[in-house]
Amino acid sequence: MTAQDDVGYHARQQARWRLSEVAFWVLVLACALLFPSRYLIMTDILRLALFALSLDLILGYAGVVSLGHAAFFGIGAYSAGLLALHGIVPEPVLALFVAGLIATVVGFLTSFLVIRGVDLTRLMVTLGIALLLEALAERFSNITGGSDGLQGIEMQPILGLFAFDMFGKVGFFYCLTVLFILFLLARRIVHSPFGLSLRAIRNNPLRAAAIGIPVNRRLIAIYTLSAFYAGIAGALFTQTTALASLDVFSFEKSADLMLVLVIGGTGYLYGGLIGAVVFKMLQEIFQTITPQYWLFWIGLVLVVIVLVGRPRMHRWALWLPNLVIRRFAGRKAVVAVPERDGP
């Protein structure tokens, strides 16, 4: 077997759908059918998951940190809102795509600023871009509605068939469909040779450049793609809530996103999804218990997560399933391996 075949073989092995992945999506769908009264929070989770997925593409696969990813989320959100408000593109699916494209263009233009510099510089440049956009949105309040946000958005039915309802059912399945399609696309991309070259860049940019990978061009490409994803997430936000306010650009939004992704783990696509679920559920539970001081408990959980360390937590979390597997399947149990962290 030549080296090339070898790499191809392993890449294909990696890219195969595993049973647990199928189980994950089946369970997500099951949730949708089991809890009809919780569509709204679940929609919130899905949007956050898609947004986290977009950050994972650059952080987990290309090693580009960003503290201003809300910039693209916000662009997508305001684009979708303006498109619907002025009836430019009344049909949601098409508007979603257009909003995503607008975010893509902005992503492409700003990518040149971002690929320079070290981690800290990147953090601050991305943050600065998001804050600038927020200030712009506030300044041009005749277009964006300023601090009041875009008001009076009315969404047309999806494809002219499904109208958004009060219970959030249509919105939820709309988001789920979009998330799933974009997830498939992302999965395809990260397992392609392009995705593999990104990992090489993340692990060692110098070496990647030495073996002939055009580092900057690849980074620009993935950053732009990630902006597209974030833009779609933002557009979904506006379309399902019929709102767009300055908060979509806020520092908190970007920072929360970072937390979500770090909780879930970077670099395996599901991290953002799991992180979104964990983060939102924690927030929801603590907020129900203590609407005033829930922030304290969230903080405590974050501190504990870090102090205990993720590998150990994975071991604890897998203790029961391992026991079951050993008992009934008789095969060797799943072992926790230390997770590779982002840069």
Binding site: S20, A30, M166, G168, Y270
Partner: protein, 393 residues
């Protein structure tokens, strides 16, 4: 790789369990549920706390049963982020089947919930947000707080009549700030006054120094100020630091700047500031003295104008339920609230039957020292002021 797959299925099970745990059980129909949506965290948290405190105080005083039905408050934190407000309101309406939604710390939050109130035919009691347009967004919105137009037009008239010729304005750059500025300008210039300098400061603004320097250089007779509750203290301190008080420039404005919550900590720089507002903790009525004493006893500090709005809001809900005999039909409740008149700690107030907005006395107050503490002492009253933001149309 394998541990991750295990983790995946585990996580998915986790979602299922967590969502199940979060799902609220459908409860009995007897109690009347009020969804109280307030900013309990973030920069607006003090607004949320005052209202929450006042609502609790009222329920302690008056009991939690009205017209034979138990009142149940469901407090939720929206952090003053409109999309949270909307989701929470929607969930409260759909899942908890609440009969009222109340609270709303900021204008965008109140606006975000408005379509839900209309769709669900549920009364929305606005206890804080003060932009004029809010009540026009749904026929189910009733407001017990105030509008900025009420206080700003009055202070504009007052300033023009009381020898203030040139005014420089400093307002926060968001909807309530712009409302305050425009209504003040309109009445002040109509009364013959002149605006010599107009500065809008960004909402998240740490240091007032440069803006105050502009004020000082413009040499006006007075500075008209509107900044959100909380920033007022910093403004006054820096106003004094820059020596504007010594150079004879007075501070006027709607009463938000001189919130009772903060006033006592501002120091003597605040003395002599003239503001127009609907509530002062020093309002000389028996009812207010009792209210202030009870609030101080329960929470250790003075109630501010947000607290009184919450107190009146829950009072209005109680009275409306009494009128409908405990029935919770949204239209009937709103009909019961329209035109309702009562004596509040702030003085006599009523709900305008046409706009569902509050009609109240606006007092001109001056900061003075009473028993060693700073208070807004009322010295002139404009009776039954409607929201001029709407009456002008």
């Amino acid at each position: 790789m394998s541990f991750r797959t295990g983790l995946l299925s585990l996580a998915a099970t986790g979602i299922a369990l967590a969502v199940a745990a979060g799902a609220a059980p459908a409860s009995a129909q007897e109690s009347v549920k009020i969804g109280l949506i307030l900013p309990m965290t973030g920069g607006q948290a003090s607004t949320g706390k005052q209202i929450d405190n006042a609502v609790k105080l009222y329920m302690q005083q008056k009991g939690d049963t009205v017209a034979g039905r138990k009142i149940e408050i469901i407090l939720k934190d929206d952090g003053a982020v409109p999309d949270n407000t909307k989701r929470i309101a929607q969930e409260l309406i759909v899942n908890e089947k609440v009969n009222f939604i109340a609270g709303f710390g900021v204008t965008p939050a109140a606006l975000a919930a408005a379509p839900l109130a209309t769709q669900g035919k549920i009364p929305q009691i606005v206890m804080a947000a003060g932009t004029s347009i809010i009540t026009e967004r749904s026929p189910y919105i009733v407001r017990t707080s105030f509008t900025l137009a009420q206080s700003s037009t009055i202070i504009g008239d007052w300033a023009a009549r009381n020898g203030i010729k040139k005014v420089a304005t400093l307002t926060s750059d968001y909807a309530p700030g712009n409302d305050a500025l425009n209504f003040f300008k309109q009445n002040f210039t109509a009364g013959g006054g002149e605006i010599v300098e107009e500065v809008k400061v960004p909402l998240a603004n740490p240091d007032f120094a440069p803006f105050l320097q502009r004020m000082k250089d413009a040499k006006p007779d007075a500075v008209f100020v509107f900044v959100p509750a909380g920033q007022g203290g910093n403004f006054m301190k820096q106003y004094a630091e820059r020596g504007l008080d010594k150079s004879g420039i007075r501070v006027i404005g709607p009463g938000d700047v001189m919130d009772d919550d903060l006033l006592n900590n501002m120091g003597d720089a605040a003395l002599g500031t003239v503001t127009a507002h609907h509530y002062s903790a020093a309002h000389p009525s028996a009812m207010n003295k009792e209210f202030v004493a009870a609030y101080k006893k329960a929470y250790g500090n003075r109630p501010g104008f947000m607290a009184v709005s919450g107190y009146d809001g829950i009072h209005m809900i109680y009275e409306a339920l009494k009128k409908t005999g405990g029935k919770t039909d949204g239209d009937a409740l709103v009909a019961a609230m329209k035109g309702m008149k009562w004596e509040s700690p702030r003085g006599p107030i009523s709900i305008d039957p046409e706009t569902r907005d509050i009609v109240q006395n606006i007092y001109i107050r001056k900061v003075e020292k009473v028993d060693g503490e700073l208070y807004n002492v009322e010295f002139a009253t404009f009776e039954a002021v409607k929201d001029s933001g709407k009456t002008k149309k």
